[in-house]
């Protein structure tokens, strides 16, 4: 029972089945939007179906329990089948072929036998030199008037497949380490602001960094045709009010601070704390002034001080507005200046009578209109720490080495017999290879060509 289970676990059938199941599951994952918790995309599904999907973790499939079990089974399958097969490969690697064999030369095709002029003794020496150059572990057995050589190369080719399998296990190990010990997070920081709190992605919740990130400036550059050329965040990293690192963050050029990598992921705008105000005095020309929130300026003629008290992006569904405070010898007054005051007036007749505070001409002879609220950028940063990356990189490197060993090398074993035939030398070449029969054939042809030049 135990044995059959083990042989099932190490079987190729299981490997193929797992590869197919994982492939099909992955296809599912590319069709069903993968979001934390399902999100908006599946609102048109029936609630029952969404519930079923959710309980199967289909919205975060690649991190679901059953997907991880499948991956675990694949790893187990890799380990057991490698352990199962390794002793055989080790034997093949260590195996010493007995020299007094005539078996390799039975049924030898006439193409592999060469008869050339010359004394076998001389030829034997030359053959030995050539073989020693091209093969490792060349052994020789002499008899009265003949010699038998054995040589081999590429014995390491038996291990290529283990290098590949081990590399895959290393990559999986690196991925596990990364998901257990690392994290992924994101945070939006507007220009001028700083934070040390970031939002975790898959694990959910927040994380406090032991340093503070400040976005000094965010900027976008465009190409002539309007396509974006560069997203740049100038960031400062502070610890105990000291700047520990400062620099621009660009897409494709992450910044690493205290082992945490920062990526330029997105950006956006929010209303800033600066507005443009259009001021019209009687029939004079309009003037436009930029004012910051809480800042003031003077209207000289009336000896009045104007202060912006509040900035609202959408006041009572009537669009952008600012609350203006005016302090003058006549007293203090407060009123709102809207951006779309003309439209609002048309829609609500007698507005100023009902709500005098909405009258932008309250402080005569001035008339104030909100021209625009200056936008402010925020930068969307992605953060990650992944201690498994170097392990995955090592695995990836060795998988390529493993490919070259497996696919481009073969264990070639060669037997060459030199003996006498009617006063001439007869050279017979027999060979086997664990793979690559074409390469072996080429090798034999190559050797025979060299031997044919050896005539005495």
């Amino acid at each position: 029972m135990k044995k059959t289970f083990l042989s099932f676990l190490s079987s190729l059938r299981l490997t193929i089945a797992l590869l197919i199941i994982i492939a099909v599951a992955s296809i599912l994952g590319t069709v069903i939007p993968q979001q934390y918790g399902g999100g908006e995309a599946f609102r048109h599904l029936s609630p029952g179906l969404v519930k079923a999907f959710r309980s199967l973790q289909l919205f975060d499939m690649y991190h679901s329990v059953w997907f991880i079990i499948l991956m675990g089974l694949l790893s187990l399958n890799l380990i057991t089948c490698s352990l199962n097969r390794f002793p055989t490969s080790w034997k093949l690697f260590k195996k010493k072929s007995s020299l007094d064999r005539s078996k390799p030369f039975e049924n030898l095709s006439p193409d592999s036998v060469l008869v050339i002029e010359g004394n076998p003794h001389e030829i034997i020496g030359r053959v030995e030199n050539l073989l020693k150059k091209r093969y490792k572990r060349v052994r020789k057995k002499d008899t009265a008037n003949s010699a038998l050589f054995y040589g081999e190369k590429g014995t390491y080719s038996h291990f290529g497949v283990y290098v590949i399998h081990l590399s895959i296990l290393i990559i999986i190990a690196g991925a596990i380490i990364g998901s257990l010990l690392g994290f992924n997070a994101f945070v939006n920081i507007s220009e001028g602001e700083c934070t040390n709190t970031v939002y975790l992605g898959r694990q959910k919740g927040i994380k406090k960094l032991d340093f503070t990130v400040r976005c000094d400036k965010f900027s976008i550059a465009f190409y002539k045709n309007g396509m974006p050329k560069e997203y740049r965040s100038n960031l400062s990293f502070l610890k105990d009010n000291n700047v520990i690192f400062q620099g621009p963050l660009l897409v494709n050029h992450p910044i690493t601070v205290n082992g945490i990598r920062f990526y330029q992921a997105s950006y956006g705008t929010i209303p800033g704390d600066q507005v443009c105000l259009t001021i019209k005095k009687g029939n004079d020309e309009e003037i436009i002034r930029k004012v910051r929130l809480k800042d003031s300026f003077y209207l000289k003629e009336k000896n009045a001080k104007l202060t912006i008290l509040r900035i609202e992006e959408n006041l009572m569904s009537m669009g952008p507005a600012v609350l203006i405070n005016i302090q003058s010898p006549e007293g203090t007054m407060r009123f709102w200046a809207f951006k779309h005051i003309e439209k609002i007036k048309d829609r609500i007749p007698g507005l100023f009578k009902k709500v005098p505070k909405f009258n932008p001409g309250l402080f005569k002879p001035y008339y104030f209109t909100l021209n625009r609220i200056e936008k402010k950028y925020y930068t969307g940063l992605q953060l990650s720490r992944d201690p498994g990356v170097s392990i995955v990189a090592i695995g990836s490197f060795f998988i390529i080495i493993g490919f070259f060993i497996t696919f481009f090398s073969s264990h070639k074993r060669l037997w060459v017999r030199v003996d006498e035939q009617e006063g001439k030398s007869r050279i017979s070449v027999a060979a086997t290879s664990n793979k690559d029969p074409v390469g072996l054939k080429r090798e034999i042809e190559h050797l025979l060509r060299h031997f044919s030049y050896m005539r005495g």
Binding site: G29, L250, V251, Y263
Partner: protein, 279 residues
């Protein structure tokens, strides 16, 4: 029209001509049509190389210099370039033109899609920030050499199955013309090994790039996932050959399935939401 796109749309016709000659050669069973087919394909390759170089230079003249590997149009052109290059190398190595009728049409179709599809924009566009990476070139080159090798394996698979159709082989001249089954099987295997290595390199270079652009070397983006599915299919194929000794018809069918997966990884994924939207 800019000179490079003019050249490249001419290359479409050149490959069409070459494909016709290869097919003619196969159907009539006369070697007479072979040498011109090869010469035309080679001419096309030279012209296409020239077109790609001009396009590269053009982009520098526009002040947005980058290798011509940055959108669907350029990737289709490069795909057909790798197909023809690999095919001509194989033709030269095995000294046989039989495969041409099954492979060159793919190069033609890729070019035709690039040149004539209204959905494919042939203008040189600047690189958006996500594509401004040194990994762009190595990632695209490795991926497309992999795709091209799989295309050749698919052509070989077709050939194998076609050969299997003819019961009385001598009665059909063009079937007799095809190489022996063992040769086909061996060639399919070699193409798949080459494709598999390049695909792996493509996935690795892509991961390195993703690690510096997206914050994670693997994010289960549909393209990544499909490349892994493709990798699994070819891995299963190689295992069944190595361990079970599967040969011939089964391998031919699997090389077709694998190629379908390659095509979906290349095109189909664009219809799924994901990060690889620029290809």
């Amino acid at each position: 029209m800019i000179i490079n796109t003019t050249i490249l749309s001419w290359v479409t016709f050149i490959y069409f001509g070459s494909a016709i000659f290869y097919i003619f050669r196969m159907v009539t069973g006369k070697e007479f049509w072979g040498p011109p087919a090869s010469i035309i394909a080679f001419t096309g390759l030279i012209a296409q190389t020239l077109g790609l170089i001009l396009r590269w230079l053009e982009s520098y003249k526009m002040g947005i210099g980058h290798a011509p590997l940055s959108n669907l149009y350029e990737s289709l052109i490069f795909f057909s370039w790798t197909i023809v290059l690999l095919y001509l190398i194989v033709e030269w190595r095995i000294k046989s033109r039989n495969l041409g009728a099954f492979v060159i049409p793919f190069a033609f179709l890729s070019m035709a899609f690039a040149s004539f599809s209204p959905n494919v924009n042939s203008r040189i566009q600047p690189l958006i920030p996500a594509l401004q990476s040194n990994w762009l070139i190595s990632h695209v080159i490795t991926c497309f050499f992999g795709y091209a090798a799989f295309t050749i394996a698919c052509g070989l698979g077709f050939m194998y199955l076609l050969k299997g159709l003819g019961k009385d082989e001598d009665s059909r001249p063009f079937l007799r013309f095809l190489p022996g089954r063992e040769v086909l099987d061996e060639l399919t295997y070699h193409s798949i090994v080459i494709g598999f290595i390049f695909l792996t390199l493509g996935i690795i270079t892509g991961s390195v790039w993703a690690y510096s652009a997206w914050g994670s070397y693997w994010s289960w983006d549909p393209k990544e996932t499909w490349s892994l599915i493709t990798w699994f299919i070819y891995a299963a194929m190689l295992h069944s050959r190595f361990v079970r000794g599967w040969r011939g018809k089964r391998m031919a069918i699997m090389s077709l399935i694998g190629f379908a997966s390659v095509l979906f990884t290349y095109f189909g994924v664009n219809y799924l939401p994901g990060l690889h939207s620029y290809f």
